[in-house]
């Protein structure tokens, strides 16, 4: 690596929202005053003990935290190497890690007096979490979702509507997550006076990547304490799937300054890295989209390409800017798993542990299957089980049925 190793990997971003060259505030002027307001409101909230206390109350009684750190005994035996622990984010209310961030942002929106909440969603997990908290706090909720994702994630569309949200099927572009985010940004520019944009991942203009990371860091903070209780020491490695990268950043961030902890992020390799995929770091380069500079999939003219993955939550052509920085300085290793590998891991965990994972963390589990057998039995590995697979049951069922006939 050509760059100097910083004193801490946890001090970013700088005042202008940069992690090295990544991040920033690449937005239309209409939004800029609001983004500065948001930054101030978030800093005030962070400094206010009452905010933390209220958050903690909801995290415990409404979300169901802390989420367990579970020793996956049969998976460990099956793989015959590292001792595998699952961080059970899929047990949270609404079924994924997304709710940690949404709760935080909704509380900030309330402090700012915003009554109309918009969100983008891919797999629908962030949309469901946003719809849930808007129902809880009596806020108007509009969720933008690509029309392709609306079709393949029907259970979550129905859930959002039951919770009182309006789901807008986005018909432009490839009609997946990137296009949903474009439409949400267009809504925000239009309704900036009363609207709060609840971004679902560690991307977008500053302060979003930092704010979402902070709200998700509870995953890693709990893991530290729980591993201390269970094993009396730090884990040896962490692994999580990455679309935008919020569940991964939440697990990783509290451990970035522990050099003994190896950290792996797993991108979606779709049909393979030489084919259609969504692995921004493996197959992309730095560019500017959706308010930040980060690794992106694009052509030689700088036109953004579509991400492709079996998982609607991972097929985004970018990644959070802090991940791009952690990749560049070499603190986190970024791997990728194909659709096929994820499908196999999805079935393996279901059968060995009685836990049906979402297709997103199934990508991380696929790489656990490669890494764990090469590691000693006293190696402690934590996998972020970021979501449950209920939403994927119809889709995976169809794929498997198609293969039998």
């Amino acid at each position: 690596m050509t760059q100097a190793i910083p004193n801490s990997y946890r001090s970013g971003p700088d005042d202008t929202g940069h992690f090295g060259i990544f991040g920033g505030r690449f937005v239309a002027e209409t939004l800029m005053p609001l983004i500065l307001d948001l930054q101030k409101a978030y800093e005030d909230a962070k400094a206010d003990p009452a905010f933390r206390k209220e958050m903690d109350g909801y995290l415990k009684a409404y979300v169901g935290r802390p989420s367990p750190l579970y020793f996956a005994e049969r998976l460990t035996e099956h793989l015959g190497g590292a001792k595998i622990y699952l961080k059970r984010e899929e047990l949270n209310h609404t079924g994924s890690h997304k709710v940690n961030n949404v709760l935080g942002q909704i509380m900030v929106a309330r402090r700012m007096g915003k009554k109309r909440i918009i969100a983008e969603t891919g797999a629908g997990q962030h949309g469901v979490a946003t719809a849930t908290l808007c129902a809880r706090f009596g806020l108007e909720c509009i969720v933008y979702m690509g029309a392709v994702d609306v079709a393949r994630q029907q259970p979550n569309v129905i859930r959002m509507e039951m919770l009182g949200a309006k789901v807008v099927a986005v018909q432009v572009g490839a009609r997946t997550l990137k296009d949903a985010m474009n439409e949400a940004l267009r809504d925000w520019v239009t309704n900036v006076h009363n609207t709060f944009y609840c971004i679902g991942t560690v991307a977008g203009p500053h302060p979003y990547p930092m704010m979402v990371r902070d709200f998700q860091s509870i995953i890693g903070e709990e893991t530290r304490v729980q591993m201390q209780e269970l094993e009396g020491r730090l884990p040896d490695s962490l692994i999580a799937c990455i679309g935008g990268g919020s569940n991964a950043m939440g697990l990783f961030h509290p451990f970035l300054d522990d050099p003994s902890v190896d950290i792996y992020g797993v991108e979606a390799a779709g049909h393979g890295l030489t084919n259609l995929h969504a692995a921004s770091i493996a197959g992309g380069r730095p560019g500017v989209l959706h308010g930040n500079r980060t690794y992106l999939l694009m052509d030689e003219d700088g036109q953004i390409q579509e991400g492709h993955s079996i998982s609607a939550g991972l097929d985004y052509p970018g990644i959070g800017p802090e991940h791009s920085w952690l990749h560049t300085i070499g603190r986190v290793k970024y791997l990728s798993a194909t659709d096929e590998e994820a499908l196999a891991a999805f079935q393996l965990l279901s059968k060995l542990e009685g836990i049906i994972p979402a297709l997103e963390p199934a990508h991380a589990l696929a790489k656990v299957g490669e890494l764990a057998p090469t590691l000693p039995k006293d190696h402690l590995m934590v996998v972020n089980l970021s979501g449950r697979g209920d939403k994927d049951v119809p889709q995976v069922g169809d794929i498997l049925k198609g293969r039998q006939s």
Binding site: T16, G24, R25, F26, V27, A28, E29, T30, L31, M32, P33, L34, V172, G173, K178, N182, L185, R186, V189, T190, N191, V192, H193, G287, V288, L289, H290, G291, R293, L296, M298, E300, D301, G302, Q303, I304
Partner: protein, 278 residues
């Protein structure tokens, strides 16, 4: 540094009229037709031409301009070809100012250090980059000024008096006032609110102020031109272009004239307005 934009506004001031600023998309519906359209605009009365640089993810644009960009990309348009379009236009017109408008990523990928001299040499006079607020001035705005290109900033209804000086600090050529909070082509601008906003901006700058987003008709353009130094029309021209295409979205014999005829009508609206702005 005096650019064609500065010269044009000095001439307009002498004539006591506002600028008619047109926006069309480079390469829409195909590179050859787009060149013919751009060539026809000065004859139709355009004082300044904004040319859109197509981008896959135009987050501040409404459906019409989104679709125009996608038509251009499908027809093989690139930033390199957009610069070629400007060169070809310049071969026969050395006076009409050309402003490239779009998003940062294609320029960033082209390479800022290479793009600026190439654009200047092609005959570009100014840049409007929607996703580069003053907070990111080091990226392109400051190097563009050094390269002799105007960097034209957008001011919006959310840009308050406290923020205006920062927005205007490194702006040159003119100030583009976005008359609505919203995407291009979505709502119509209210001329009394626009008049107040232009007056507010003029308290902070001597630069000309042009108004855009939401101007569709000669009457509306006339109204805006009374209160500002220029009226920008984009979506209406692109809708006229789209209406002239065949079922496959290809240009027809009517395409160039459909845009030019509407531009001529709009130009009359703008040029008939007595300036109250100075």
């Amino acid at each position: 540094m005096t650019t064609r934009i500065d010269t044009r506004f000095a001439e307009l001031k002498v004539e006591g009229r506002a600028a008619f600023v047109t926006f069309v998309m480079a390469g829409d519906p195909d590179p050859a037709t787009a060149l013919e359209i751009v060539k026809a605009l000065p004859k139709a009365g355009a004082d300044i031409i904004e040319i859109g640089m197509p981008f896959t993810d135009p987050m501040a644009d409404g459906p019409s301009i989104q679709a125009a960009g996608l038509r251009a990309l499908q027809a093989g348009m690139t930033l390199r070809k957009t610069l070629q379009l400007v060169r070809d236009f310049r071969a026969a017109d050395d006076k009409t100012p050309i402003v490239l408008m779009g998003y940062y990523n294609p320029i960033y990928i082209y390479g800022v250090d290479k793009f600026l001299p190439d654009a200047k040499a092609a005959g570009v006079d100014g840049l409007i980059i929607v996703d580069l607020p003053p907070e990111e001035d080091a990226e392109l705005c400051l190097p563009a000024m050094k390269a002799g290109l105007n960097f034209i900033r957008l001011a919006t209804p959310t840009t308050d008096d406290k923020r205006l000086p920062a927005v205007l600090a490194n702006t040159s050529g003119f100030v583009y006032y976005v008359s609505i909070t919203g995407i291009t082509g979505s709502a119509s601008a209210d001329s009394s609110a626009v008049s107040a906003a232009v007056a507010r901006i003029k308290r902070h700058t001597k630069l000309p102020v042009c108004v855009g987003f939401g101007i569709r008709t000669p009457e509306a353009a006339h109204d805006i031109a009374r209160h500002a130094n220029g009226a920008v029309v984009g979506t209406a021209l692109i809708d006229a272009l789209k209406g002239s295409l065949d079922a496959d979205g290809k240009a027809t014999a009517r395409t160039v004239s459909a845009v030019a005829d509407l531009a001529a009508a709009l130009a009359q609206g703008v040029h008939g307005a007595k300036q109250a702005a100075e």
